[in-house]
Assembly symmetry: C2
Amino acid sequence: MRGFERSLPMALMRARESVMSHFRPILAEHDLTEQQWRVLRALSANDQPCSAGHIAEQTYLLGPSLSRMLTSMEDRDLITRTASSDDARRSDIAISRAGTRLVNEIAPRSEAVYQRISDALSASELDQLYDLLERTADIGEAQS
Amino acid sequence: MRGFERSLPMALMRARESVMSHFRPILAEHDLTEQQWRVLRALSANDQPCSAGHIAEQTYLLGPSLSRMLTSMEDRDLITRTASSDDARRSDIAISRAGTRLVNEIAPRSEAVYQRISDALSASELDQLYDLLERTADIGEAQS
DNA sequence: TATTGTTATACTCTATAACTATA
DNA sequence: TATAGTTATAGAGTATAACAATA
């Protein structure tokens, strides 16, 4: 079998761990888990409020996990949930003003981490990395 | 702030999730968690028995998590633990014959997943991906 | 009858601290 | 006194199934 260094999931994990190890302390300062941050980022990227299902897809969280997280994030006033007008099963979820403030507070520290990455990888290499990662993510999308 | 598509941790996660989504069912068939598989892979890559600390480093698992996992994997006869001769605090951990058999059973299915990746990425692109991932993993290694 | 989201439940892993044995 | 590993404990996320409300 391929060596451990030639395991793509491990290589992806190592890279992610390395980046996140610089970022996790920042999140911890603000009492955010990685997963909560993913939700906040997803919501702040969307200009439109969206459904729980949509967030689950974007963030790779399961429905039940997300459901509990949304409750606690609503309690912390980081997000808002309002009944959807056209489908009463859904609720429109959006980032709150406080949530946006938190994202803006963290953003510059995040950029500092990206600065470190930019020291190691040129702009075109970073582009290339994103491209290769996207194409890896698309494997098996056509079939099944 | 950068869009969600331009988040490197998310791009890494998407790629990893995509690969693992093809692989997780195979592990589930053999009652292995992702983390247990990481330990098995690490041990099967090492020809020498090694310490728990070394495995923890290689697999990105915390000591306490690994400790419990090793106990259950020893109960399942997937690994062996023998007292180290030169340092009584350590134990030498190695993959068992049954563990090796399990790895060999899973290996061809793993290769099938790599075949899919090879359909999407050329050999040189895959090399390039590994290189970029490794350089990303090395950020901040020099300082601190 | 299918879908959206929540609740229930069991299990695994994370994370930190405290502890034991050894160096 | 420091290190390797285990145990203790609390908490968060994963995963599946069951359920409610709505479509």
